[in-house]
Symmetry: C2
Subunit: 370 residues, 2 copies
């Protein structure tokens, strides 16, 4: 069992959260669109959007003024609308999409200049976590650890099934009383046989994409493993947290390498650790993973709509926006989404193709926003 | 071959058209709704609604002031909008839905009082006729015939396939030079084996639901075969074509028997004749018959939309209203209609159930207008 950890007031003041909310969610068309992507949606009908739920979760591990939201500049208004308590200065605006490494480097430099050596919890804005108490307790264990160690910690979810859509982390056996383990390997999206082997071995965890480290550790890692990216962004050191920050970022950020923190840092560093966790996590990365979390009817249909007649249909994900009325008959294993003026009908097993269907349609219509 | 017939000016002045436009088209939900049923739609994307096309056709066989449109009173505005040249007094408003016999009796009495013995072409408002020249010529042959004979004539379409959704008319062999034949039997919707026998025999025609007769013949037939219905409506003789007509109809019409003219008159009368015709007719009675008339792509999909990506899909009918954008993958033999806030996805072979699906949904929502 994990040891219980509660942060003191002083510890919280040097703990920051970075919510990464810049994705465009094209796998979830037509519910998610470039103007209004997944993290800004209440995709499971809970009453709070995924961004709002992430903010609520982060509010439990640090004080609200220490929560930063990084997003593309086009989503600034959406963030402000959905998080009215967030100070405007806590929104980090990316002028271009450059994956997670530049985003994390930018936020880390900014936070390091405010409070050198602070711990940061880095989290995607669009994941699901159902056990929020467990989440808070387990994250606090990792935060405490980063206050005394220059380790890069990732949260590794104890796997529930041989999922082929996730990344896996293999950890080294070590002291059984030490909850935080050294990482041995990372494996992206294995095939089913390999995923089964991973599960059976007991050495593998799902990579949650939630990271905890202190600013010294992560900035040293950037300097060592991504020196160009680091130099590009550290150059403006004097301008961070001043009126000149945004114009520096607008100028420098677009020339940063487009690279993920997993590939650019974690797979290269020797100080990478994992905390095995369990808190009802899903990356909600595909309709399949959303289906896992949705309530099913007697025919294994996950239906979000009350104005619907469903006849002789099984194993479908069906979602209609409010006000829509539908009759659906004779479908087995489909995704049916009607949202505004947009409609998707697609076999669940083709969910990986949705993104390319959307791209093809954009090209054929000659429109960016569909 | 049919003899050519063109009506003189005098003949046209005693020829009326009755367009029956009171249906609710529930087989075509969600394109057709009780507020805006099939006859008021441009279901094949021609630029004119089915009612407008019917009006255009009738304008070729009689003068516009002799065209009457019978409809339910709730559709008066739709008729006036779609047929701006139609005098308001030519719209016969039914206060209740009572099938074709009461509608035809009402119109026949009204026309008989205006011009006794006039010929009437009775036609549904929601059928398709692609060969309009042929239609006009063949109808004129029948009209000429009714000017000299008290016969009830129905147009019998030469069958193109063993269709099981239509009614069949068997005619008696007679004088080969006489185009109009005496009717032997009526058969509603035969099974496939019987339909094949009908086609092979050469004695059967599809019942088009288009009738031609003079007012003496049809009113005598009503008096004889539907005496209650006849008495109920003839009672107000003095009020027809006066300011008192509508209030008489509003009072008396609802108590008329709910019966079709086929069952109530044609199957009982001994003076029923059929003119074999051929003018690209379809009753557009089901999605299947609409599919027959629609242009298909290389995969036999009939698609009405330009904002759509269709992947690995065959034999579907797909229609989206303007402005909608869709991605459809992996469907074979479905009807997919997205119209306003309404969506239907249903196998083509279940098209006969659409009407009952709609009724079930109405009941479960507790709403009449869906």
């Amino acid at each position: 069992m994990l040891s219980f950890a509660v942060l003191s007031f002083d510890e919280m003041s040097t703990t920051y959260a970075l919510i990464m909310a810049g994705g465009i969610g094209s796998r979830f068309w037509p519910m998610s669109t470039p103007r209004h992507p997944k993290q800004f949606l209440d995709i499971l009908g809970t009453g709070r959007t995924l961004l709002q739920q992430t903010y609520d979760r982060m509010s439990r591990v640090t004080s609200p003024e220490n929560i930063m939201v990084a997003t593309h500049s086009q989503y600034k208004d959406l963030v402000m609308d959905q998080l009215p308590d967030l100070p405007e200065g806590n929104i980090l605006l990316e002028p271009a999409r450059r994956n997670t490494a530049p985003c994390i480097a930018y936020a880390s430099i900014k936070i390091h200049k405010m409070k050198p050596g602070s711990s940061i919890v880095v989290t995607p804005a669009d994941h699901l976590i159902t056990e929020e108490d467990d989440f808070a307790k387990q994250v606090e264990v990792a935060i405490k650890h980063t206050m005394e160690n220059n380790h890069l910690i990732t949260l590794g979810v104890k796997p529930l099934r041989p999922e082929t859509g996730y990344g896996y982390i293999q950890f080294k056996d070590g002291d059984e009383n030490e909850p935080i383990k050294k990482v041995k390997t990372f494996t992206e999206k294995p095939d089913l046989d390999l995923a089964r082997e991973f599960i059976e071995s007991g050495e593998f965890l799902w990579n949650s994409g939630i990271f905890i480290w202190n600013t010294n550790a992560i900035l040293n890692a950037f300097e060592k493993h991504q020196p160009d990216l680091y130099q590009n962004l550290i150059e403006g050191w004097d301008l961070y947290n001043t009126d000149g920050e945004q114009s520096f970022i607008d100028k420098s950020y677009p020339s940063s390498d487009n690279i993920s923190v997993d590939y650019g840092i974690l797979e290269r560093s020797k100080s990478v650790y994992v905390l095995p966790v369990s808190f009802g996590w899903s990356d909600l990365g595909t309709w399949g993973s959303v289906y896992q979390e949705m309530k099913k009817d007697d025919h294994e249909n996950a239906i979000q709509s009350k104005r619907i007649l469903v006849n002789e249909s099984l194993n479908n994900i069906i979602s209609l926006d409010k006000g829509k009325t539908a009759i659906i008959s004779g479908l087995d294993g489909y995704i049916v989404i009607a949202e505004g003026n947009r409609l998707l009908i697609c076999p669940r097993e083709e969910e990986q193709q949705i993104k390319s269907f959307v791209n093809d349609l954009k090209i054929s219509l000659g429109e960016e926003d569909i």
